[in-house]
Symmetry: D2
Subunit: 365 residues, 4 copies
């Protein structure tokens, strides 16, 4: 597997956690990346990964990762890495990631800590990989030693914006967007994550911080660069109103969202058929760039009344494809639809890996 | 139990089905009603109820019902009944119920068939029992032999309109209402109802006819009488826009709804605190009338972020109370909130029994 | 509620935990007991109970408990208590309970710590309340200041032994007993208890220490006193072989057990009908003593092939009754059957309350 | 895909049902088989498969199957098939399959109807493919026109016998075997299969006919041929006692079984380590024959206390591998262990496909 001169050396921070485990799975036998370094807490450092991690994935622990000796999350251990994937908890991610950047390392992070900085790309790789181009400007103006960070969006935001992108490109901006989410429990990790007694025969109509993340991140992911091309200009509330209601439901993987939206241009509102065709025809840039993990079909438009369903549809295009069903007119806004995305793939670690593939394809790493 | 001269004689149509079983439980040892007649399909007729029914309730089959010999759903068998509760499937309810009415019997029905007739009250007993007053006008103008029918609303509509009633009474009409429902599987009955493989680790983002029911029935339940006081004047789309998105979720009992709403009067929009206080202070008319099953607290306003939850909150006031949580401002409309109601009690059979209690209290039976 | 001169003053240790919350519910409006003291960790002490506890029961927090100011788990705060219920975690129960005993207080404990002491009764109140009589001997030989402790059995053991007791009384001892359990998650508490991701669409075929508890505790609960009537003589492996296999399953409340057993006397093995009749006819001593919570029907024998089921049958006799179904011959041992019991009632706090009722009825408190 | 002269032509009976859908998935892009004919009820016949089937798999409907026009289950439509896979319901399988055999067609059937005939192999392909050799004898003595049938075992039996085979081969026969199963709902199909309300927050301790199947089929799968090598000699109850208790649990895929067993030879009972090593070292004949679907690791022995778990372990070797955990001594018999197998792969359609691969490798088709 190693030896290929084209492969980039990569590492994972927070390697024993649920996001870290997913990174390891997705980076196993990857044509672009060679996983060399696994970082975790001091408690795990010094142990072989197989002994340090409580492996809880449905796939077996890849043998190449099993014997890697875990290190602490310090930049010196990752000095050879072209890119470092961070699955750190928000409690630790802020300072550790900043330390890595300061030491010239490039980070793709699942943590929320740096998402709102105006010069940090917040990227859903099937939506706004063009936001990564800001890194060129940024790198040009900075010393050689400083690395960069790219943030993966919040999981429920990723699925939401996927079908919005082609719609906005084709029919112009939205001015109102509402979503009620039915989110899987895997998004909460597993130590302990959502307690079983809270989610069996039950719904929890609240996820801390989640509604605010959706309402905020959507406005960044869909926004343009500023005039100097070095920062992002968040959409204002006047430009786009977003309202989210978030629920945790008894589903293992796959976030379902009931969405309604309105286009700003009241004179050229498309038809249901135009909306569906636009979604079907969308080919994401990552696929055009030939990225390994990019979905062949970015948006799967389902015609059956009772789809998408998480158990049946979450694995489209290995979890990188997003499913949309029940596109129909809305008595209040323009359209209603149901969106399903795989929260640990396109909503977390999988996005990170595809972002890194794009960075490589664009020559940014 | 019998012998009381005040008790009304009652019967149940569709007694072996899931709604029928609930009627039997709720009518057991009831202070107002004496359950005498159980009607079901010809296949069950002639058997003792205990042998005819596949009893699937968490409470034991009441002993007084066990030995009743089931009859066919024909008016002659119910001639002594002051009121007949119908748990019939929509496939049969239309003609059977009409036949009963024509024979002078009074029906309280859970079926959808007669809900949209302009002279039929569609009643959520903690919301619009005043709609029953139309029966006085109706009875006065008709021959003695003709009975009446009162329809129980659709289950997800019942929970939705409960908190709307006091808000509209106090702050004036709404002009926009949206709801995304997370509905329990008990609402689909049990022969077979929702297949297990469809609902385990899954969401079904569709319930046939449900969205239309919510969007239509809300406009009738909240509407006034016409000028002649003998028909209901449905609210128009111009007066109230309603948009519903309905999901089936892995919950046994209890419908959760994520609701947003806007008041028509843009100059006097209440505050969050005013909304919560209005809900807390609401005392439904059924309680004021002293009805046996009426909730002492109609609306339970919960202050914890993560409530209401179906497993914990569905049984408030024996399932006749409705819980409301997370009342907060909405970036798009005025307010967002989460509503939880017990779909088989206030959303179905329980409503039927309370409606009959109100009919008795008002002297309509 | 207070003021009754007959009521015993009681307290709860570990009051904020899941077992403690159940004790509070069951002691609310109890005819025999007046709940006065609630003990918890130093972190909770000094707060009103309503502020200290994260109340997670399906019934509302009883108003009489809500305003009690929580104290630390120190004997001086419980000096007025006739009996103290302990819902403490095993990590703390050992020393705290011993401290209470040393200070003359009487404990009924759900913790495992003292269960295996030869002079401590391990009691399932519908099975072996006669074991409490040892306290008379014990008290006579000890100084006035020393209190006693009675241990509640492990939850899955409680359900298992309930039908064994009448069988052994009538048909003589068993020599082989096997059980495979399907245990509800509420038994693991809720901070965090069983993680949701471990139990959704899943089985965990292991519960730490549980198999050993069943195999050991069964031999104590069914055992006789020693010759001096002051200690218990555990059954030996030669007398009774017990084999348990324990699983955690996606059920909220109610432990199901698939049991097989063999009688020692190979010449007088009863028939299936005799076994079922014996179970049906059993009336537990607690009921004969007139105890408030004692089940009217101790064992519910179900004849339907597919019963008992936890969701439908766990609440028989308010959770104090045990259901047995599918009694049939076994190709290997004598009989197979399925036993269902409510793990938080007869398997935990409920047993504690009923034990205390028996103690009161027997004049031991 | 077609065109390969080595590929065998195959068809599927009962193609629209849940087993039929699995056959189609597993036969898609198969190196040995070319799926040409799909048979279903007269209601479906004449339609394209994509229109006839309510496709409910987590993988998309293979495009090569989508456009096949469904035919009725009559031999003439399958005349070109080298082997026909039957996913028919037992209500129809008996006569249709016999009709096919009589017309010279070879059947691999998942139905129970022919399993107990003394000259029909009942095969778990990772266990007793040698039983297929009887077909040579049988074919030799019969006219050219008569086909044969091979039966796939019951799903819970398949997982159970997988680890027994190497144990019996190495340590001699068992004389006692007990299993308590926790079976997934996918085994019950989906029209309607297990109702959701029966399985949410619930266990059903009964599966019609299942215990008898396990107790009977185990004795055939582990039995030798008769002296004439043309029939199977079922093990007697004196040779092997089997006792099964079967439960339906809220798991989508994957049967868990809690097993205990005793070896006949009481003087040479192996150690726990010997048992585990025997299981680890087992290589099934299908793998040695180079069959495409044969598991590389037939039995996965897990050392973690809390494994195997269905959600995590059911997909080992694409569902053709069986997981065994918690191997330990049993106080009653010799050993206890937990076995997990994928009920729709090694327990149903997957076994059928692997059996056909073996038939091809052995030159029997």
């Amino acid at each position: 597997m190693s030896g290929s001169t084209n492969k980039k050396i990569v590492g994972v921070l927070g390697a024993t956690g649920s996001v870290g485990q997913r990174f390891i799975l997705l980076l196993s036998n990857h044509p672009d990346f060679d996983l060399k370094v696994l970082g975790a807490s001091p408690r795990s450092a010094g142990k072989k990964y197989i002994d340090a991690a409580n492996w809880k994935q449905t796939d077996l622990l890849p043998s190449n990762a099993a014997d890697i000796v875990v290190v602490e999350c310090k930049p010196e251990h990752f000095a050879d890495c072209d890119v470092v994937f961070s699955g750190l908890d928000a409690d630790y991610a802020g300072s550790i990631e900043q330390d890595f950047i300061n030491n010239g390392l490039n980070i793709v992070s699942n943590a929320k800590n740096h998402r709102r900085l105006p010069d940090v790309p917040l990227v859903v790789p099937i939506v706004n990989p063009d936001h990564l181009d800001i890194l060129k400007n940024r790198k040009a103006t900075q010393g050689k030693k400083k690395g960069f960070i790219v943030c993966i969006s919040n999981c429920s935001t990723a699925g939401l914006v996927a079908p919005l992108k082609p719609l906005v490109e084709k029919f112009g901006p939205l001015d109102i967007l509402t979503t009620t989410t039915l989110q899987a429990i895997s998004g909460a990790g597993f130590s302990p994550g959502v307690p079983g007694i809270d989610i069996l025969d039950n719904i929890v109509p609240y996820i801390g911080g989640e509604e605010d993340k959706i309402e905020w991140e959507t406005k960044k992911i869909l926004c343009p660069l500023n005039a100097n091309k070095n920062e992002f200009d968040l959409l204002t509330n006047d430009e786009l109103k977003v309202s989210a209601q978030c629920n945790r439901v008894p589903v293992s993987d796959g976030h379902t969202e009931c969405v309604a939206l309105r286009f700003k241009d009241r004179k050229n509102v498309p038809s249901v058929e135009q909306v569906k065709n636009c979604l079907k025809e969308y080919v994401c840039d990552a696929y055009k760039l030939g990225c390994h993990s990019a979905p062949k079909q970015t948006i799967h438009v389902l015609e059956q009344n009772d789809r998408p369903q998480p158990r049946l549809d979450r694995n489209r295009d290995n979890g990188y494809g997003v499913s949309v069903g029940r596109v129909r007119e809305d008595p209040v806004l323009d359209f209603k639809m149901v969106i399903l995305s795989h929260n640990t793939i396109i909503g977390a670690a999988g996005s990170g890996v595809l972002i890194a593939e794009i960075l490589k394809a664009k020559g940014l790493i």
